[in-house]
């Protein structure tokens, strides 16, 4: 029973982490290697707003998300827009920005393990004999709610449809009068906000540490690849797949194989089905 409960929790947290990355890659084909940095900087900015400026927790969340979205948009507008297309420079560019943000935070004194965010609700209850704390349940609910909102957003709103159009075929979207750079900036901003939401949900469980930035980047790449680069629906399904395999390995094989399994999943998926579960792999099924 606890496998199911903690499996879903682990999977939802993986899905939250990966959603931002999948959104950005889906729309603008830019692999955003600064995703981990956006995740962490949202945690720290929320901490600063709450502790240094004394604004209460609820508003500081929204303020931090807004700042994150702004950083994402600025990052795209001034740096990534010039290197779109040259995929090596994209990777290096976004990784360098991520590095600058993370190491800048570390230089700015955000070292050590004493920074954390308060939990939404204290205490825990027993579900089917398994003690689960409120915050994790809340995280699951918000996660599912977020996915539903995202689905509605991309299917029924103007911007959402434009983003999806861009994802399928950028040139066709251009022909229909969708300003691709604006859309890509918006996508990057949304990606940053999604990373921020993931941070504000997951970080209260532990503490805000710069290293988890790199860890989040690796895991979100893992999930997006298994789910098929570009399709965020695939990312969610893949998150559940990897989440449960991790929990199962911990229970049956041995907890220290947990990481090995996650990375093995990526390598196997790429070899067997490079386009992932849902992805439409353009290069491979090239028209002969």
């Amino acid at each position: 029973m606890e496998i199911i409960v903690y499996g879903t929790i682990n999977s939802v947290s993986l899905a939250l982490m990966a959603l931002g990355f999948a959104m950005v890659y889906g729309v603008s084909r830019v692999p955003n290697f600064a995703h981990g940095a956006l995740y962490i900087i949202c945690g720290f900015s929320c901490w600063i707003i709450m502790n240094k400026l004394g604004i209460n927790y609820f508003f500081s969340i929204f303020l931090a998300l807004a700042i994150n979205g702004l950083i994402g948009a600025l990052m795209y507008r001034f740096v990534l827009i010039r290197v779109r297309g040259m995929n090596i420079s994209e990777i290096i560019g976004s990784y360098a920005i991520g590095l600058a943000i993370l190491e800048g935070l570390r230089w700015g004194g955000f070292k050590g393990m004493t920074y954390t965010l308060p939990v939404f609700m204290e205490g825990s209850i027993i579900i089917g004999g398994v003690p689960v704390d409120y915050h994790r349940i809340l995280m699951m609910l918000i996660g599912i709610f977020l996915v539903a909102m995202l689905w509605i957003f991309t299917h029924y709103t103007k911007i959402g449809l434009a983003l999806q159009g861009m994802a399928q075929d950028e040139r066709a979207a251009l022909m229909l009068g969708i300003d691709s750079d604006l859309m890509a900036t918006l996508a990057m901003a949304f990606g940053a906000i999604l990373a921020g939401i993931a941070a504000l949900l997951i970080l209260p469980l532990g503490n805000i540490v710069v290293e988890s930035g790199y860890h989040v980047l690796i895991m979100s790449i893992a999930v997006c690849i298994v789910g098929g680069l570009g399709s965020w629906m695939g990312a969610i399904v893949a998150a559940f797949l990897i989440g449960f395999t991790q929990i199962l390995t911990v229970v049956y094989i041995g907890s220290h194989f947990q990481m090995v399994v996650a990375i093995l999943a990526i390598i196997l998926t790429l070899i067997l089905k490079p386009s992932g579960l849902f992805g439409k792999q353009h290069e491979l099924e090239e028209r002969v």
């Binding site: 393990m113 988890s212 947990q258």
Partner: protein, 423 residues
């Protein structure tokens, strides 16, 4: 666009020239201590503060008299980044070499903090014949075993704080006490997937097993795990009463928070638990870290009166740095500077080999007991009583304060059990 390009190139040029100058402007007279530390980490900056505190005190009193001539200490700290994942150890070794070759360091204190880097640095130090005292973060028993094994090659390496085997000994004494008082016999081991933590957990399993404790399970978590629910639930289902934790990664705070939320009826007993050693731990877990026990290896890192010097150091540290001594590196680094000073004065020269022999006969009453080095393995000798050896100290978080509960000779309180365990 033109001006951005020129300003960018100008800042690059300024950075290079500035960097070049600082490395040449220092007086030849002072004795240079090189401190390769991972300054972005607890074990790094607490050692840096310990060393700087001791150096300031010694320089205030006139410095070290080397064969009659008074020479001040000068500290050169360099960031090795070796506790950061994804950074190759060769980065730390290059920093160490920069200290030795470029900054002309005479002695190395603090040493690289990661066990892996410290082991790698040993051959480098013996190549350059530099005396090095490791004071923070290196717990692997392999370190002093290697010194004993290849004495002539690694004789320049010393270690002034405890290591895994010593800690296991202290922990066992505690468990025996818990067994009599509260009848706790079932131990569940949780270790980080790092060789010194796994080694310590294995040794603990064997030794505790032979002493009548029942090992209900062992869980090894890779670095970077963010969910410990499975391990904790397994501990709860096997009815274990003590959870022995060997983990120095930041995610251990998640483990403790989950332990509190899931109300696991077992006492979290940290073998090495970096997160719980900091005074800021209470605020970080907003009170949910109560009853956690953790080992700070040497007495000075928590308020206790092991020796008259302990509280003097404790208050001097708090006054200078505005925070109580934290982590396991502060008192040991402080003592390392004093031991080095005393050894240089006895040896009367800076020559490495003479200082090594002088260090081997060290016998001074330090912050955490009488410091003597084992001549063969250059490992500080541990004891239960401050009068005849270096003393470890285990503390428990009791409503916001760190109370030393072991060893008995310097204890200030008793081990308490969480309310949901007292059925």
């Amino acid at each position: 666009m033109k001006c951005i390009k020129s300003t960018f190139l100008f800042t690059l040029f300024a950075a290079i020239t500035f960097g070049f100058f600082t490395s040449h402007a220092y007086a030849k007279k002072s004795i240079i201590i090189g401190a390769p530390l991972s300054t972005a980490y607890l074990y790094g900056w607490d050692a840096e503060r310990g060393i700087k505190l001791a150096v300031d005190e010694i320089n205030a009193k006139g410095g070290v008299n080397v064969a009659g001539e008074k020479r001040p200490f000068k500290v050169e700290v360099i960031d090795t980044r070796d506790l950061e994942p994804g950074v190759p150890v060769s980065e730390a070794l290059m920093a160490l070499e920069r200290l030795i070759l470029n900054k002309k360091a005479d002695f190395i204190l603090g040493g690289p903090n990661r066990s892996e880097a410290a082991l790698a640095a040993m051959s480098l130090l013996s190549k350059h014949k530099k005396v090095s005292i490791v004071t923070s973060g290196v717990l692997t028993p392999k370190y002093h075993a290697l010194v004993a094994q290849k004495y002539d090659k690694f004789k320049y390496c010393f270690r002034i704080h405890g290591e895994a085997k010593g800690i296991v000994g202290d922990m066992l004494a505690n468990f025996m006490e818990l067994k009599e008082k509260h009848g706790l016999t079932k131990i569940f081991l949780i270790a980080q997937d790092v060789s010194h933590a796994r080694g310590a957990a294995k040794v603990m399993g064997k030794v505790a097993g032979s002493k009548g404790f029942e090992i209900t399970g062992t869980e090894i978590f890779p670095t970077g795990t963010t969910d410990f629910s499975m391990g904790l639930l397994k501990a709860k289902s096997t009815g274990s009463q003590i959870i022995n934790i060997w983990m120095d990664m930041p995610e251990s705070a998640i483990l403790l928070k989950q332990w509190y939320d899931l109300k696991i009826p077992a006492l979290p007993f940290g073998g090495t638990l970096a997160a719980a050693e900091q005074p800021g731990f209470w605020k970080a877990t907003n009170g949910r870290g109560e009853f956690t026990l953790c080992n700070v290896i040497n007495a000075g890192n928590a308020p206790s009166d092991a020796t008259p010097w302990t509280m003097k150091f404790y208050n001097a540290y708090a006054k200078k740095w505005g925070v109580e001594p934290e982590g396991l590196g502060s008192s040991s680094s402080y003592m390392a500077v004093y031991t080095l000073k005393e050894a240089i004065e006895r040896a009367g020269t800076l020559d490495s080999d003479k200082v090594v022999t002088a260090l081997e006969q060290t016998d001074i009453m330090g912050v955490y007991g009488r410091l003597k080095f084992d001549p063969k393995s250059h490992q500080v000798i541990f004891a239960k009583d401050p009068k005849d050896g270096a003393v470890g100290s285990i503390l428990q978080w009791q409503d916001g304060k760190r109370i030393v509960v072991f060893p008995k000779s310097i204890a200030k309180g008793e081990i308490l059990l969480p309310p949901w365990m007292k059925k």
